[in-house]
């Protein structure tokens, strides 16, 4: 038996082509500007807890400068350009991102902890594609909304999360610019580096000064942006708790708001599903990006008759999931984004055990130092359990079984969230039947976690409102005149 052991060797992606500056300033009006209060915070690599860089911390006065720059750029330059001219800049940015794809991928992995396979094959190519896609719309807005008159909103304040840093930037910046808005963007504090690299790309593309401004910092920086009276639009992706604060802050103001918030999405496996592909779908739905995915299929519902088999297959499959150094090309699950998030996840693991659920984790050794969590499945989970109701945002799956369609629809919809859902069955009629009853902004059939710039994304209920991506994504950055 021992001679059959065959283990892959680490295959590390080179970090040689990545230049990280010791200190980053704020990107305001096309220039790097030191924060007025001269305060900086550190960003670390979650895979080994090593220091990467110091990053400027913007306060309300810095945000004000950025908004003023964006306003001036909107009034004097960007709103005067034709759609074709805006599109030209967006195409240029997209191409530059493509040229620097490898560097961006490594940077994303270093700063955020996601496996290089994902940043290389998913995050960065998709981010580029969003710019290409919206570059194409810039001069075709009349075709997107035939018979309507429209104009840009003005200055868009955008706040992005740490799970897909550059991709979420692309989801927000590309449509905003295509529609003629200018932007002040606040990236998440643990993952600012690719946004700052994006600022360099804007410079290289010759984007007019002030069209894109990047203010780094913590939640108070974001709050200052939300509170700024000269911001016309707030687009936020992040937690439902913060989303609610933003919504409250915007009440009674003329600001338009789109929110893309949390989720506890149901992934439903019917007994006639293509079984092995469904198991792979479960893996992709919950262990993609360490489970740091707002639409992660964190609640698995398996039809009773196949539950035992599916769980056995899932446990076996977990044995060939590689957890470890995110720069290793063979790694499937990398580092948890931050110590804080790891603590949150571990707290939920304790809660799950206290709630009496049965835990399974594969036998694997985790690197140290660094923030790591084994892929985890909980069986025997009650609908009322906190681990089945609250968003964990980690590689933790809860499994429940069901007998009838009615039962699974009720349970799946019994959540304050409604971002996404998955349906696995070989029966086409059941796909349509179930997906029409599920309260979710996205329903995947026989697949999960598939994204495309042409496909709108957004939630029901407390998962937010507004759509990003596709033609729908344009309307979040336009006002119509009929």
């Amino acid at each position: 038996m021992s001679e059959n052991n065959w283990n892959l060797e680490p295959s590390l992606e080179s970090v040689a082509q990545v230049q990280i500056k010791p200190q980053y300033e704020l990107f305001i009006n096309g220039k790097w500007q030191a924060p007025l209060a001269a305060t900086y915070f550190a960003t670390v690599n979650p895979a080994d807890e090593k220091h990467l860089a110091h990053i400027a911390q913007a306060n309300a006065a810095d945000v004000d400068l950025a908004v003023k720059a964006a306003r001036a750029a909107y009034d004097n330059v960007w709103s005067q350009l034709s759609g074709a001219a805006r599109g030209k800049y967006l195409f240029r940015i997209a191409r530059l991102m493509q040229e620097k794809a490898r560097e961006l991928a490594v940077l994303e992995t270093l700063d955020g902890g996601k496996p290089i396979r994902e940043s290389r094959d998913i995050d960065i190519p998709l981010a580029c594609n969003h710019f290409f896609y919206y570059a194409g719309w810039a001069d075709k807005l009349q075709e997107a909304f035939p018979g309507q008159q429209m104009e840009a909103l003005g200055v868009a304040g955008q706040i992005t999360p740490w799970n897909f840093p550059l991709l979420m930037l692309a989801w927000k910046v590309a449509p905003a610019l295509a529609c003629g808005n200018t932007v002040v963007l606040k990236p998440a504090e643990t993952t600012s580096l690719t946004a700052l690299k994006f600022a360099e790309i804007c410079q290289e593309a010759g984007l007019p000064a002030g069209v894109v401004n990047i203010v780094t910092g913590y939640g108070d920086t974001g709050a200052a942006l939300v509170a700024h009276p000269n911001v016309d639009k707030i687009a936020f992706t992040g937690s439902t708790a913060v989303g609610k604060q933003i919504q409250k802050a915007c009440i009674g103001t003329p600001k338009k708001v789109t929110l893309e918030l949390g989720g506890k999405s149901a992934n439903i496996i019917l007994e006639d599903a293509p079984m092995d592909q469904a198991v792979e779908g479960i893996i992709n739905s919950i262990f993609f990006n360490q489970g740091h995915v707002c639409c992660a299929g964190s609640r698995l519902f398996v039809q009773e008759s196949i539950a035992e088999q599916v769980i056995a297959k899932l446990k076996f499959r977990l044995q060939s999931i590689y957890v470890g150094n995110p720069l290793d090309k063979n790694t499937d699950i990398g580092a948890i984004n931050s110590k804080k998030q790891l603590e949150t996840i571990e707290e939920y693991l304790d809660i799950g055990l206290a709630e009496g659920a049965e835990i399974y984790q594969p036998d694997c050794t985790l690197p140290s130092p660094g923030f790591y969590c084994k892929p985890t499945i909980f069986t025997d989970v009650a609908q009322s359990a906190r681990i089945a109701q609250e968003e964990i945002f980690g590689p933790v799956l809860t499994i429940q079984t069901f007998r009838t369609m009615e039962e699974v629809v009720q349970k799946a919809n019994n959540s304050p969230y409604g971002l996404a859902a998955g349906v696995w069955t070989a029966n086409g009629a059941r796909i349509f039947g179930l997906s029409s009853q599920l309260q979710a902004g996205v329903v995947w059939a026989n697949t999960y976690n598939k994204f495309d710039p042409a496909s709108p994304f957004g939630g029901y209920k407390e998962s937010g409102f507004g759509r990003e991506g596709g033609r729908h994504g344009l309307s979040a950055y336009l006002q119509f005149k009929n």
Binding site: E9, Q277, E280, Q309
Partner: protein
């Protein structure tokens, strides 16, 4: 239960074959192909692949001399490289089994014979039986039979089942590999169904193709067959062997196939008792890569013997 299933029993067995989603299958394979197999793992993989080869010659123009040369190569893959394994078996037509058996002597290398009117399977059952008996009488250790694809596609599952079970009964201690010729089957669902059928009928190995039809051992087909083997093992504890044949001509593909075996079935299958490559040109590419891995330099193809 060998050969004992009635038509209703067979029908209910095949009704349990899960449907196969092609897109999901391709995604799973892409994940495996994205893995990086380097360094010592590569060297070990190349050696493993060499030891799993069924070195094959199945030409109308085969001569005893060619078969003898092939048998020598099977035992001396590349004597310039020390400590190489031998291949697992030599695979020939029934008429060449005697020659191969004698040439291989007590080397431990098996003689596999194709049978049942290989490659088309278009002969009456009596002829197929004689074909098989001839190979066995001449000392074949393994029988590579082809199924009646026409009957299978026509939905005559009982016929195909009975045929496999009858050949299995003739085999005695010889191991039976059942060739599906997946290039003639319509879909992955069919591949799954014939896998379940052949395993139920007593196949020791299931094998993709004859090598005479393209496409042959594609990743989706092999993945589907491995899943059938895994499900059978989970249900019964019985291991079934797998033999992809045709189309795997490079080391890179072979290593990816081995990784798929490891991830889908587990390391217990990473031995030539349970896994074979049916190939004629794969061996030399493995040898070239092996030498490259050892010496850091590629050597000219002319340094490796063709037979």
């Amino acid at each position: 239960m060998l050969g004992n299933l009635s038509t209703p029993e067979l029908s209910s067995l095949l009704a349990l074959s899960p449907s196969i989603d092609q897109i999901g299958t391709l995604e799973r394979i892409a994940r495996i192909q994205a893995r990086s197999i380097k360094g010592a793992a590569k060297l070990q993989g190349l050696r493993m692949a060499l030891s799993m080869i069924d070195l094959t010659t199945l030409e109308g123009k085969d001569t005893p001399s060619k078969v003898r040369q092939l048998c020598f190569k099977a035992q001396h893959l590349h004597d310039q490289a020390p400590d190489l394994p031998t291949v697992a078996a030599v695979c020939v037509f029934p008429t060449m089994v005697g020659v191969a058996k004698k040439a291989l002597g007590n080397s431990g290398i098996k003689v596999a014979s194709v049978s049942t009117a290989f490659p088309s399977g278009q002969a009456p059952f009596e002829v197929k039986k004689l074909d098989t008996l001839y190979a066995l009488d001449n000392g074949a250790d393994e029988i590579d039979m082809v199924i009646s694809r026409g009957r299978f596609l026509a939905g005559d599952y009982q016929f195909v089942y009975d045929e496999i079970a009858a050949i299995k009964a003739l085999c005695g201690t010889a191991r039976l590999k059942v060739i599906f010729e997946t290039g003639e089957l319509d879909s992955l669902d069919q591949v799954r169904k014939i896998s379940d059928l052949a395993i139920a009928a007593g196949a020791d190995f299931i094998k993709t193709s004859t090598g005479k039809i393209q496409p042959a051992a594609t990743f989706p087909v092999v993945h589907t067959m491995l899943c059938a083997i895994k499900d059978h093992y989970d249900k019964t504890g019985q291991m079934i062997g797998m033999k992809p044949a045709g189309g795997i001509s490079s080391s890179k593909l072979a290593l990816q196939h081995l990784l798929m075996v490891k991830e889908v079935l587990g390391e217990a299958w990473l031995t030539n008792e349970w896994y074979r490559f049916g190939a004629s040109s794969l061996a030399n590419d493995l040898l070239m890569q092996y030498q490259k891995q050892l010496t850091g330099k590629y050597q000219s193809a002319t340094y490796f013997s063709i037979d």
